[in-house]
């Protein structure tokens, strides 16, 4: 049953050194506030899992939290490359980073298999592609009915998943809408889960019955963090801060500028400040 608690407590109780952790969100609903809390708490030695690593993994890897990343696309969407991740891969700064690289299709299927309690995912994938040569967890299986050779990847079973969502009701049921990404699968595939939400409402009784909802008993902890997805966006609440994504490119290009930015905007801040960061974006939503 989901327990409401402050974000700092939700992170300290559910994220431990050495964990495999997924901070999911597919462009929309990226759990930035949770990632910043993990950085402040200085958790180390993580295996970071995510389809689209984005700014928060650039920040976590640049701050030395991770030893490995499992991913399928490491770019700053619409802007370019993730420069802190590049520096880790190309130069080992601030430390070496082991990569386990897949395609989107394989990652999505691997979460789905994790949520379904299966040991691996099967897909018609990677044909002729070289990732199968460099990623040892990409194998093949033969269909027992047709003989067709198919790709297989191990199910993703993170120790903990972090996601951001629109709202929780008072019982701790969680509602996600808009681009729903792979978050439901990531939560159901994980041993523990932490959800940050924009707001708490009494109940969901007037909502459409086919909405994407994670029942309270599938979630470990909920923290209320308005604006917690910034500079990503929350459908119905505030729009994407495209300018912040563009600005990040220059901040991340330089190690010292990056560290100074992290000190000022993450280390010396608290989750409460996210609401102010999205105030000007709410009008456009």
């Amino acid at each position: 049953m989901a327990t409401f608690m402050p974000l700092s407590q939700a992170v300290s109780e559910n994220l431990r050194a050495g964990d495999a952790a997924a901070f999911e969100g597919f462009t929309h609903l990226i759990p930035t506030a949770a990632a910043h809390e993990a950085i402040r708490q200085g958790v180390r030695d993580l295996t970071l899992i995510r389809m689209t690593p984005d700014l928060i993994y650039d920040q976590m890897i640049g701050m030395g939290l991770a030893r490995k990343m499992i991913f399928s696309y490491a770019g700053n969407p619409g802007v370019g490359l993730l420069r802190r991740i590049r520096d880790a891969v190309e130069n080992g700064w601030p430390g070496p980073l082991e990569l386990e690289e897949h395609s989107h299709s394989a990652m999505a299927n691997a979460y789905d298999a994790g949520a379904a309690g299966l040991p691996f995912a099967v897909l018609r994938g990677y044909r002729g592609a070289e990732l199968a040569r460099v990623t040892p967890t990409i194998k093949t299986v033969t269909c027992p009915f047709t003989g067709e050779e198919l790709a297989a990847v191990p199910a993703l079973r993170p120790d903990v998943a972090f996601i951001h969502a629109q709202k929780a009701d008072r019982k701790g049921n969680v509602l996600i809408e808009g681009i729903v990404g792979v978050q439901k699968q990531a939560v159901l595939a994980s041993k523990r889960s932490v959800v940050t939400v924009e707001e708490v409402v009494d109940d969901f009784k007037d909502l459409h019955p086919n909405m994407c909802v994670l029942p309270s008993w599938t979630v470990t902890a909920i923290a209320v963090v308005p604006g917690g997805a910034h500079p990503s966006y929350t459908h119905g609440y505030y729009v994407r801060d495209n300018a912040a994504y563009v600005e990040w490119d220059a901040i991340a290009a330089d190690r010292e500028r990056f560290r100074a930015w992290m000190q000022k905007n993450v280390m010396e801040r608290t989750p409460d400040e996210f609401a102010a960061r999205v105030a000007h974006l709410r009008k456009a939503a």
């Binding site: 597919f26 462009t27 929309h28 689209t52 991913f71 399928s72 696309y73 490491a74 770019g75 969407p77 619409g78 490359l81 993730l82 991740i85 590049r86 891969v89 190309e90 690289e101 395609s103 989107h104 299709s105 999505a108 299927n109 979460y111 789905d112 897909l123 018609r124 994938g125 990677y126 044909r127 002729g128 592609a129 070289e130 990732l131 460099v134 067709e148 050779e149 808009g178 681009i179 729903v180 990404g181 792979v182 439901k184 699968q185 966006y233 459908h235 729009v239 994407r240 801060d241 495209n242 300018a243 912040a244 994504y245 563009v246 105030a279 000007h280 974006l281 009008k283 456009a284 939503a285």
Partner: protein, 268 residues
């Protein structure tokens, strides 16, 4: 529709418009960000109003008023007929064979339409670590046809790509068939200078049309492999007034939307 003069448009505009013309009204198109996104939306706003545009974030049948900066901008969801989860997108829609055209860009491409978006240099010790494949490895084999669009340069159109992120025609000939891939693969390469199509037998890309004012020498000089030209070389029809206006209006709306966002940020 009146035709504009040959010097009234840029090579990049010609590329986008030529790519948009390749799309049909009944196509179901898996759209990449950047030039593919612009081409697909120009097609939708001109000759293909009912085209189905699908972005990998899960938006199906989207009709954005401005071009998205990312693959999952709110605009895509707001204007879609439905939005599905990412696992469903890749399982039912792409792997299920429901996509007619996959529209891809590339950091490097070779003469057989094999694409690299992973690394420049060695995978383990890369000179440049690129974003990676994302949806492309399976788009390349599951969409019925692949269109590629990119600006010509010797750095991007190379003799041998550093890493095969997405399989095109492999070593050429029947290589796709030998791997059990039943889709057609890359059938069109549109650059800022020319239109390329694969030779029916060898599958090597051959220049079939030059954009207005472009010479074969320019194409050969900006291509990293010895470029082949079709015996009958066409000239791409220049952009029409409607095509050019549509593209420029779309880009102006997009710029205004992104500038407004930046302005709001400064005011805050």
């Amino acid at each position: 529709m009146t035709e504009t003069t040959a010097n009234a448009f840029t090579p990049s505009e010609m590329m986008t418009i030529a790519a948009s013309r390749a799309l049909k009204n009944d196509d179901v198109c898996f759209v990449g960000i950047g030039a593919p996104s612009a081409a697909c939306n120009v097609a939708r706003l001109t000759h293909a109003p009912d085209i189905t545009l699908i972005y990998e974030s899960g938006t199906i049948g989207t009709a954005p008023d401005v071009l998205p900066l990312s693959i999952g901008d709110g605009e895509l969801c707001d204007t879609a007929i439905t939005t599905v989860s990412v696992p469903e997108m890749f399982r039912y829609w792409l792997q299920g064979g429901r996509i007619s055209i996959g529209f891809l860009g590339a950091a490097q491409v070779d003469r057989f339409g094999n694409i690299n978006t992973t690394v420049i240099g060695d995978y383990a010790q890369p000179k440049t670590r690129l974003p990676g494949g994302g949806g492309a490895p399976e788009i390349a084999t599951s969409a019925r046809e692949i269109y590629i669009t990119m600006a010509q340069s010797r750095r991007s159109m190379v003799e041998s790509i550093d890493f095969v992120t997405s399989f095109g025609h492999g070593e050429g000939g029947d290589h796709r068939k030998r791997l059990g891939i039943e889709t057609a693969g890359p059938t069109l390469l549109i650059t800022d200078l020319a239109v390329w199509k694969p030779d029916p037998v060898t599958k090597e890309f051959v220049v079939t049309a030059l954009h207005p004012g472009v010479t074969p020498e320019q194409v050969a000089e900006t291509c990293g492999w010895p470029a082949r030209f079709a015996e009958r070389l066409d000239i791409t029809p220049p952009p029409t007034e409607l095509e050019l206006t549509t593209l420029r209006d779309l880009q102006a709306r997009t710029k205004a939307a992104h500038d407004t966002a930046a302005k709001r940020r400064e005011d805050a």
